[in-house]
Protein backbone atom coordinates (compact mmCIF):
# COMPACT_ATOMS: atom_id res chain seq x y z
CA UNK A 1 0.00 0.00 0.00
CA UNK A 2 1.12 3.56 -0.70
CA UNK A 3 1.02 6.50 1.70
CA UNK A 4 -2.34 7.84 0.53
CA UNK A 5 -3.98 4.40 0.62
CA UNK A 6 -2.70 3.92 4.14
CA UNK A 7 -4.34 7.17 5.26
CA UNK A 8 -7.68 5.93 3.96
CA UNK A 9 -7.28 2.45 5.38
CA UNK A 10 -6.24 3.79 8.79
CA UNK A 11 -9.24 6.13 8.99
CA UNK A 12 -11.53 3.17 8.33
CA UNK A 13 -9.68 0.91 10.75
CA UNK A 14 -7.07 2.55 13.01
CA UNK A 15 -6.15 -0.89 14.36
CA UNK A 16 -4.29 -1.51 11.10
CA UNK A 17 -1.59 0.91 12.27
CA UNK A 18 0.15 -2.00 13.97
CA UNK A 19 0.65 -3.63 10.58
CA UNK A 20 2.16 -0.67 8.72
CA UNK A 21 5.72 -1.44 7.57
CA UNK A 22 8.05 0.83 9.53
CA UNK A 23 9.47 2.54 6.45
CA UNK A 24 5.99 3.57 5.24
CA UNK A 25 5.55 5.84 8.25
CA UNK A 26 7.81 8.48 6.69
CA UNK A 27 5.36 9.20 3.86
CA UNK A 28 2.31 8.67 6.10
CA UNK A 29 3.53 11.25 8.62
CA UNK A 30 4.38 13.65 5.82
CA UNK A 31 0.92 13.35 4.25
CA UNK A 32 -0.81 13.64 7.61
CA UNK A 33 1.15 16.80 8.41
CA UNK A 34 0.24 18.31 5.05
CA UNK A 35 -3.45 17.53 5.68
CA UNK A 36 -3.25 18.77 9.29
CA UNK A 37 -4.36 15.35 10.43
CA UNK A 38 -1.47 14.19 12.62
CA UNK A 39 -3.27 14.90 15.90
CA UNK A 40 -6.58 13.40 14.74
CA UNK A 41 -4.90 10.13 13.77
CA UNK A 42 -2.91 10.15 16.97
CA UNK A 43 -6.13 10.18 18.99
CA UNK A 44 -7.67 7.50 16.77
CA UNK A 45 -4.65 5.25 17.42
CA UNK A 46 -4.98 5.87 21.15
CA UNK A 47 -8.71 5.13 21.16
CA UNK A 48 -8.05 1.63 19.84
CA UNK A 49 -4.95 1.26 22.05
CA UNK A 50 -2.54 0.77 19.16
CA UNK A 51 -0.49 3.94 19.72
CA UNK A 52 2.08 2.40 22.02
CA UNK A 53 2.80 -0.36 19.53
CA UNK A 54 3.89 2.11 16.82
CA UNK A 55 7.54 2.74 15.90
CA UNK A 56 9.30 5.56 17.79
CA UNK A 57 9.48 7.68 14.63
CA UNK A 58 5.70 7.70 14.23
CA UNK A 59 4.99 8.19 17.92
CA UNK A 60 7.38 11.14 18.08
CA UNK A 61 5.65 13.13 15.34
CA UNK A 62 2.13 12.13 16.33
CA UNK A 63 2.73 13.16 19.90
CA UNK A 64 4.17 16.57 18.95
CA UNK A 65 0.97 17.28 17.02
CA UNK A 66 -1.16 15.98 19.88
CA UNK A 67 0.43 18.41 22.33
CA UNK A 68 -0.22 21.35 20.00
CA UNK A 69 -3.80 20.22 19.40
CA UNK A 70 -4.46 19.75 23.12
CA UNK A 71 -3.30 23.30 23.80
CA UNK A 72 -5.64 24.61 21.10
CA UNK A 73 -8.49 22.48 22.38
CA UNK A 74 -8.17 24.07 25.82
CA UNK A 75 -7.60 27.54 24.48
CA UNK A 76 -10.69 27.57 22.26
CA UNK A 77 -12.99 27.42 25.24
CA UNK A 78 -11.21 30.37 26.78
CA UNK A 79 -11.47 32.30 23.51
CA UNK A 80 -15.14 31.37 23.17
CA UNK A 81 -15.97 32.60 26.65
CA UNK A 82 -14.12 35.87 25.93
CA UNK A 83 -16.23 36.38 22.81
CA UNK A 84 -19.49 35.57 24.55
CA UNK A 85 -18.67 38.04 27.34
CA UNK A 86 -17.56 40.74 24.91
CA UNK A 87 -20.66 40.49 22.75
CA UNK A 88 -23.18 40.17 25.59
CA UNK A 89 -23.70 43.95 25.99
CA UNK A 90 -24.71 44.06 22.30
CA UNK A 91 -27.28 41.35 23.02
CA UNK A 92 -25.52 39.19 20.45
CA UNK A 93 -24.96 35.50 21.15
CA UNK A 94 -22.34 34.22 18.74
CA UNK A 95 -23.06 30.94 16.99
CA UNK A 96 -19.83 28.93 16.86
CA UNK A 97 -19.16 27.14 13.60
CA UNK A 98 -16.82 24.52 12.12
CA UNK A 99 -13.62 23.68 14.04
CA UNK A 100 -14.45 25.71 17.13
CA UNK A 101 -17.93 24.14 17.26
CA UNK A 102 -16.45 20.64 17.01
CA UNK A 103 -14.21 21.41 19.98
CA UNK A 104 -16.96 23.02 22.04
CA UNK A 105 -19.71 20.49 21.26
CA UNK A 106 -18.13 17.23 20.12
CA UNK A 107 -14.85 17.23 22.01
CA UNK A 108 -14.40 13.51 22.50
CA UNK A 109 -15.17 12.40 18.96
CA UNK A 110 -14.28 15.12 16.47
CA UNK A 111 -12.95 18.07 18.41
CA UNK A 112 -9.97 16.23 19.85
CA UNK A 113 -7.09 16.47 17.45
CA UNK A 114 -8.97 18.75 15.06
CA UNK A 115 -6.77 21.79 14.52
CA UNK A 116 -7.81 25.02 12.85
CA UNK A 117 -6.29 28.41 12.33
CA UNK A 118 -9.29 30.58 13.14
CA UNK A 119 -12.50 30.64 15.15
CA UNK A 120 -15.63 31.03 13.01
CA UNK A 121 -18.70 32.72 14.43
CA UNK A 122 -22.03 33.70 12.93
CA UNK A 123 -23.86 36.83 14.09
CA UNK A 124 -26.97 38.58 12.74
CA UNK A 125 -26.17 40.59 9.63
CA UNK A 126 -27.52 43.83 11.11
CA UNK A 127 -25.18 43.43 14.10
CA UNK A 128 -22.03 42.83 12.13
CA UNK A 129 -20.69 46.40 12.20
CA UNK A 130 -21.25 46.80 15.92
CA UNK A 131 -19.63 43.41 16.54
CA UNK A 132 -16.62 44.42 14.49
CA UNK A 133 -16.32 47.74 16.32
CA UNK A 134 -16.67 46.19 19.74
CA UNK A 135 -14.03 43.58 19.00
CA UNK A 136 -11.68 46.29 17.68
CA UNK A 137 -12.15 48.16 20.95
CA UNK A 138 -10.92 45.04 22.77
CA UNK A 139 -7.83 44.39 20.72
CA UNK A 140 -9.08 42.42 17.68
CA UNK A 141 -7.90 44.14 14.52
CA UNK A 142 -8.11 43.36 10.79
CA UNK A 143 -5.07 41.92 9.05
CA UNK A 144 -3.38 43.88 6.28
CA UNK A 145 -4.80 42.99 2.88
CA UNK A 146 -4.81 44.42 -0.61
CA UNK A 147 -7.57 46.97 -1.35
CA UNK A 148 -9.01 44.61 -3.96
CA UNK A 149 -9.39 41.74 -1.47
CA UNK A 150 -10.82 44.13 1.13
CA UNK A 151 -13.40 45.33 -1.38
CA UNK A 152 -14.20 41.79 -2.51
CA UNK A 153 -14.90 40.66 1.05
CA UNK A 154 -17.15 43.57 1.89
CA UNK A 155 -19.02 43.63 -1.38
CA UNK A 156 -19.57 40.04 -2.22
CA UNK A 157 -19.06 37.57 0.59
CA UNK A 158 -20.85 36.24 3.64
CA UNK A 159 -18.23 37.41 6.09
CA UNK A 160 -16.03 40.38 6.87
CA UNK A 161 -12.23 40.30 6.73
CA UNK A 162 -10.86 38.27 9.67
CA UNK A 163 -9.77 40.03 12.83
CA UNK A 164 -6.81 39.03 14.97
CA UNK A 165 -6.24 39.50 18.69
CA UNK A 166 -3.23 41.76 19.09
CA UNK A 167 -1.45 39.74 21.79
CA UNK A 168 -2.79 36.18 21.69
CA UNK A 169 -2.86 36.08 17.90
CA UNK A 170 -6.29 34.42 17.83
CA UNK A 171 -8.04 34.95 14.49
CA UNK A 172 -11.81 35.37 14.43
CA UNK A 173 -13.85 34.98 11.23
CA UNK A 174 -17.15 36.80 11.53
CA UNK A 175 -19.96 35.54 9.26
CA UNK A 176 -23.52 36.62 8.72
CA UNK A 177 -24.39 33.75 6.41
CA UNK A 178 -22.97 30.33 5.69
CA UNK A 179 -22.69 30.94 1.95
CA UNK A 180 -21.79 34.11 -0.01
CA UNK A 181 -25.08 35.85 -0.89
CA UNK A 182 -23.63 36.85 -4.27
CA UNK A 183 -23.79 33.22 -5.38
CA UNK A 184 -27.56 33.39 -5.33
CA UNK A 185 -27.44 30.20 -3.29
CA UNK A 186 -27.24 31.71 0.18
CA UNK A 187 -29.96 29.99 2.20
CA UNK A 188 -32.49 31.85 4.26
CA UNK A 189 -30.37 31.68 7.38
CA UNK A 190 -33.46 31.19 9.54
CA UNK A 191 -33.63 27.58 8.31
CA UNK A 192 -30.39 26.93 10.11
CA UNK A 193 -31.33 29.02 13.12
CA UNK A 194 -34.13 26.58 14.01
CA UNK A 195 -31.42 23.98 14.60
CA UNK A 196 -29.53 25.58 17.48
CA UNK A 197 -28.36 23.83 20.61
CA UNK A 198 -26.45 25.05 23.63
CA UNK A 199 -23.51 23.02 24.90
CA UNK A 200 -23.16 22.04 28.55
CA UNK A 201 -20.80 24.97 29.03
CA UNK A 202 -23.35 27.32 27.47
CA UNK A 203 -21.99 27.86 23.96
CA UNK A 204 -24.35 28.13 21.04
CA UNK A 205 -23.71 25.72 18.15
CA UNK A 206 -25.71 24.06 15.37
CA UNK A 207 -27.37 20.74 16.18
CA UNK A 208 -25.63 17.71 14.68
CA UNK A 209 -27.63 17.49 11.39
CA UNK A 210 -27.27 21.23 10.69
CA UNK A 211 -23.62 21.20 11.72
CA UNK A 212 -23.04 18.33 9.31
CA UNK A 213 -24.82 20.13 6.47
CA UNK A 214 -22.72 23.23 7.06
CA UNK A 215 -19.59 21.10 6.95
CA UNK A 216 -20.83 19.61 3.66
CA UNK A 217 -21.55 23.02 2.14
CA UNK A 218 -18.19 24.29 3.27
CA UNK A 219 -16.44 21.38 1.59
CA UNK A 220 -18.40 20.97 -1.62
CA UNK A 221 -19.70 24.44 -2.37
CA UNK A 222 -16.15 25.65 -2.78
CA UNK A 223 -13.36 25.88 -5.29
CA UNK A 224 -10.34 24.96 -3.19
CA UNK A 225 -9.72 21.57 -1.66
CA UNK A 226 -6.37 22.04 0.01
CA UNK A 227 -7.54 20.08 3.03
CA UNK A 228 -10.08 18.04 1.09
CA UNK A 229 -9.30 14.78 2.78
CA UNK A 230 -9.22 16.37 6.24
CA UNK A 231 -12.68 17.81 5.62
CA UNK A 232 -13.94 14.46 4.33
CA UNK A 233 -12.77 12.83 7.57
CA UNK A 234 -14.73 15.53 9.46
CA UNK A 235 -17.87 14.37 7.62
CA UNK A 236 -17.05 10.71 8.17
CA UNK A 237 -16.72 11.29 11.92
CA UNK A 238 -19.82 13.51 12.04
CA UNK A 239 -21.88 10.83 10.30
CA UNK A 240 -20.67 8.30 12.86
CA UNK A 241 -22.31 10.48 15.54
CA UNK A 242 -25.81 10.09 14.03
CA UNK A 243 -27.75 7.82 16.36
CA UNK A 244 -31.45 8.32 15.58
CA UNK A 245 -33.49 8.12 12.36
CA UNK A 246 -34.87 11.59 13.17
CA UNK A 247 -31.39 13.05 12.73
CA UNK A 248 -31.08 11.64 9.21
CA UNK A 249 -34.53 13.01 8.41
CA UNK A 250 -33.57 16.43 9.75
CA UNK A 251 -30.42 16.43 7.60
CA UNK A 252 -32.38 15.48 4.50
CA UNK A 253 -35.08 18.07 5.11
CA UNK A 254 -32.70 20.90 5.93
CA UNK A 255 -30.62 20.16 2.82
CA UNK A 256 -33.76 20.20 0.68
CA UNK A 257 -35.15 23.37 2.28
CA UNK A 258 -31.90 25.26 1.83
CA UNK A 259 -31.21 23.98 -1.68
CA UNK A 260 -28.13 21.94 -0.87
CA UNK A 261 -29.38 18.42 -1.41
CA UNK A 262 -27.01 17.95 -4.37
CA UNK A 263 -24.12 18.71 -2.06
CA UNK A 264 -25.54 16.32 0.52
CA UNK A 265 -25.75 13.61 -2.10
CA UNK A 266 -22.17 14.18 -3.26
CA UNK A 267 -20.86 14.21 0.32
CA UNK A 268 -22.59 10.91 1.08
CA UNK A 269 -21.46 9.40 -2.20
CA UNK A 270 -17.78 10.16 -1.59
CA UNK A 271 -17.82 9.35 2.11
CA UNK A 272 -19.20 5.94 1.12
CA UNK A 273 -16.87 5.33 -1.77
CA UNK A 274 -13.67 6.68 -0.19
CA UNK A 275 -14.10 5.95 3.53
CA UNK A 276 -16.89 3.33 3.45
CA UNK A 277 -18.87 5.48 5.87
CA UNK A 278 -21.92 3.64 7.14
CA UNK A 279 -25.10 5.48 6.08
CA UNK A 280 -28.68 4.15 6.37
CA UNK A 281 -29.64 2.45 3.10
CA UNK A 282 -33.05 4.11 2.71
CA UNK A 283 -31.53 7.54 3.36
CA UNK A 284 -28.85 7.10 0.74
CA UNK A 285 -31.17 5.49 -1.82
CA UNK A 286 -33.57 8.39 -1.51
CA UNK A 287 -30.72 10.80 -2.33
CA UNK A 288 -29.51 8.64 -5.16
CA UNK A 289 -32.96 8.51 -6.75
CA UNK A 290 -33.04 12.31 -6.71
CA UNK A 291 -29.53 13.06 -7.87
CA UNK A 292 -27.85 9.89 -9.07
CA UNK A 293 -28.77 10.14 -12.75
CA UNK A 294 -26.80 13.28 -13.62
CA UNK A 295 -25.16 13.18 -17.05
CA UNK A 296 -21.98 14.57 -15.60
CA UNK A 297 -21.72 12.07 -12.78
CA UNK A 298 -18.69 10.35 -14.29
CA UNK A 299 -16.81 13.65 -14.52
CA UNK A 300 -17.80 14.60 -10.99
CA UNK A 301 -16.63 11.21 -9.73
CA UNK A 302 -13.33 11.54 -11.57
CA UNK A 303 -12.71 14.96 -10.06
CA UNK A 304 -14.02 14.59 -6.53
CA UNK A 305 -12.46 11.20 -5.84
CA UNK A 306 -9.13 12.90 -6.51
CA UNK A 307 -9.57 16.24 -4.75
CA UNK A 308 -10.97 14.50 -1.67
CA UNK A 309 -8.14 11.97 -1.45
CA UNK A 310 -5.10 12.48 0.84
CA UNK A 311 -3.00 14.47 -1.56
CA UNK A 312 0.57 15.72 -1.60
CA UNK A 313 2.63 17.16 -4.47
CA UNK A 314 5.17 14.33 -4.10
CA UNK A 315 2.49 11.78 -5.00
CA UNK A 316 0.34 13.83 -7.43
CA UNK A 317 -0.03 12.82 -11.08
CA UNK A 318 -1.55 14.71 -14.02
CA UNK A 319 -5.03 13.34 -13.35
CA UNK A 320 -4.92 14.74 -9.81
CA UNK A 321 -3.97 18.15 -11.18
CA UNK A 322 -6.71 18.04 -13.79
CA UNK A 323 -9.18 17.18 -11.04
CA UNK A 324 -8.05 20.23 -9.07
CA UNK A 325 -8.66 22.46 -12.06
CA UNK A 326 -12.10 21.01 -12.75
CA UNK A 327 -13.17 21.48 -9.16
CA UNK A 328 -11.75 24.97 -9.04
CA UNK A 329 -13.74 25.97 -12.09
CA UNK A 330 -16.87 24.28 -10.77
CA UNK A 331 -16.50 26.00 -7.40
CA UNK A 332 -16.18 29.44 -8.92
CA UNK A 333 -19.04 28.73 -11.27
CA UNK A 334 -21.30 27.74 -8.39
CA UNK A 335 -20.44 30.69 -6.24
CA UNK A 336 -20.69 33.61 -8.61
CA UNK A 337 -22.96 34.90 -11.30
CA UNK A 338 -21.05 35.09 -14.57
CA UNK A 339 -20.25 38.83 -14.83
CA UNK A 340 -18.69 38.88 -11.40
CA UNK A 341 -16.95 35.62 -12.01
CA UNK A 342 -15.23 37.09 -15.06
CA UNK A 343 -14.24 40.22 -13.19
CA UNK A 344 -12.88 38.16 -10.29
CA UNK A 345 -10.94 35.90 -12.58
CA UNK A 346 -9.57 38.80 -14.55
CA UNK A 347 -8.44 40.69 -11.50
CA UNK A 348 -7.06 37.61 -9.82
CA UNK A 349 -5.26 36.52 -12.95
CA UNK A 350 -3.76 39.86 -13.92
CA UNK A 351 -2.58 40.10 -10.34
CA UNK A 352 -1.35 36.55 -10.70
CA UNK A 353 0.60 37.65 -13.73
CA UNK A 354 2.14 40.55 -11.87
CA UNK A 355 3.06 38.24 -9.02
CA UNK A 356 4.68 35.93 -11.53
CA UNK A 357 6.58 38.84 -13.02
CA UNK A 358 7.63 40.68 -9.91
CA UNK A 359 7.86 37.92 -7.34
CA UNK A 360 5.38 37.13 -4.58
CA UNK A 361 6.69 39.38 -1.83
CA UNK A 362 5.96 42.47 -3.91
CA UNK A 363 2.25 42.17 -3.21
CA UNK A 364 2.10 40.91 0.30
CA UNK A 365 1.39 43.67 2.76
CA UNK A 366 4.14 43.65 5.37
CA UNK A 367 3.02 41.91 8.53
CA UNK A 368 3.75 43.67 11.80
Amino acid sequence: MQGASWLIALMKDPQLAATVPEQDWVLIIRLLRKQQLLARYSYLFRQVAVFDALPAYARHHLQNAEILARKQFHQVEFEASELVTLLAPLKVTPLFLKGAAYSLALGASIGQGRTYSDIDILVPKEAITSVEQRLALHGYFGEPMTPYDQHYYRQWTHEIPPVRHHSRGTIIDIHHNLVPPVSGRAPDISHFLTHLVTTEQGYQVLALPAMTLHSIIHLLFNEEFKNGFRDLTDLHLLFLQFKQPAQWDALFELATATGFSTELFLACRYCRSILATGLPDDFYQRLERQHGATKNQAILDFAFKRVLAPRHPVTDNWQDKLADTLCWLRGHWLKMPVPILLWHLIVKSSRGLLVAVLGKSYFEPERR
Binding site: H74, Q75, E77, F78, R168
Partner: protein, 78 residues
Protein backbone atom coordinates in the same frame (compact mmCIF):
# COMPACT_ATOMS: atom_id res chain seq x y z
CA UNK B 1 -4.25 27.87 51.03
CA UNK B 2 -3.15 29.78 47.94
CA UNK B 3 -4.18 26.86 45.74
CA UNK B 4 -7.79 27.35 46.74
CA UNK B 5 -8.02 30.78 45.13
CA UNK B 6 -6.15 30.02 41.89
CA UNK B 7 -8.17 30.33 38.73
CA UNK B 8 -8.73 27.07 36.89
CA UNK B 9 -5.70 26.21 34.69
CA UNK B 10 -3.35 28.40 36.76
CA UNK B 11 -0.37 26.71 38.40
CA UNK B 12 1.93 28.30 40.94
CA UNK B 13 5.44 27.82 42.28
CA UNK B 14 7.32 29.51 45.13
CA UNK B 15 11.11 29.39 44.89
CA UNK B 16 13.43 27.74 47.37
CA UNK B 17 15.40 30.96 48.03
CA UNK B 18 12.30 32.82 49.20
CA UNK B 19 12.67 35.36 46.40
CA UNK B 20 9.14 35.08 45.15
CA UNK B 21 6.36 33.21 43.44
CA UNK B 22 5.48 32.59 39.80
CA UNK B 23 2.08 31.91 38.27
CA UNK B 24 1.39 30.30 34.90
CA UNK B 25 -1.96 30.26 33.12
CA UNK B 26 -1.89 27.11 31.02
CA UNK B 27 -4.68 28.29 28.75
CA UNK B 28 -3.52 31.79 27.86
CA UNK B 29 0.20 30.98 28.27
CA UNK B 30 0.55 34.05 30.48
CA UNK B 31 3.27 34.04 33.16
CA UNK B 32 3.47 36.34 36.18
CA UNK B 33 6.23 36.64 38.73
CA UNK B 34 5.88 38.51 42.03
CA UNK B 35 8.49 39.08 44.69
CA UNK B 36 6.26 37.77 47.47
CA UNK B 37 6.58 34.40 49.14
CA UNK B 38 3.67 31.98 49.32
CA UNK B 39 3.11 33.01 52.95
CA UNK B 40 3.06 36.71 52.12
CA UNK B 41 0.66 36.09 49.26
CA UNK B 42 -1.64 34.10 51.50
CA UNK B 43 -1.68 36.91 54.05
CA UNK B 44 -2.41 39.44 51.32
CA UNK B 45 -4.97 37.46 49.39
CA UNK B 46 -6.71 35.37 52.01
CA UNK B 47 -6.52 37.65 55.03
CA UNK B 48 -6.42 40.98 53.23
CA UNK B 49 -3.48 42.13 55.39
CA UNK B 50 -2.36 45.57 54.48
CA UNK B 51 1.26 45.78 55.64
CA UNK B 52 2.52 44.30 52.37
CA UNK B 53 3.19 46.98 49.82
CA UNK B 54 2.24 45.99 46.28
CA UNK B 55 1.89 48.16 43.20
CA UNK B 56 -1.59 48.61 41.80
CA UNK B 57 -0.65 47.14 38.41
CA UNK B 58 0.83 44.07 40.11
CA UNK B 59 -2.44 43.59 41.93
CA UNK B 60 -4.28 43.86 38.67
CA UNK B 61 -2.02 41.23 37.11
CA UNK B 62 -2.47 39.04 40.17
CA UNK B 63 -6.22 39.28 39.83
CA UNK B 64 -5.92 37.57 36.45
CA UNK B 65 -4.44 34.50 38.12
CA UNK B 66 -6.64 34.37 41.22
CA UNK B 67 -10.35 33.98 41.80
CA UNK B 68 -10.68 37.42 43.31
CA UNK B 69 -11.77 40.63 41.63
CA UNK B 70 -8.97 43.18 41.45
CA UNK B 71 -11.07 45.74 43.35
CA UNK B 72 -11.20 43.64 46.48
CA UNK B 73 -7.42 43.25 46.41
CA UNK B 74 -6.95 46.96 45.91
CA UNK B 75 -9.32 47.74 48.72
CA UNK B 76 -7.31 45.49 50.96
CA UNK B 77 -4.23 47.43 50.09
CA UNK B 78 -5.39 51.03 50.37
Amino acid sequence: MLHDVLLEHVVVHSFSDGSGTVFFNQVTGETLGVSLTAQQLERLVLNGETDISVQAQDLHALSRMLKLPSQSLEKANV
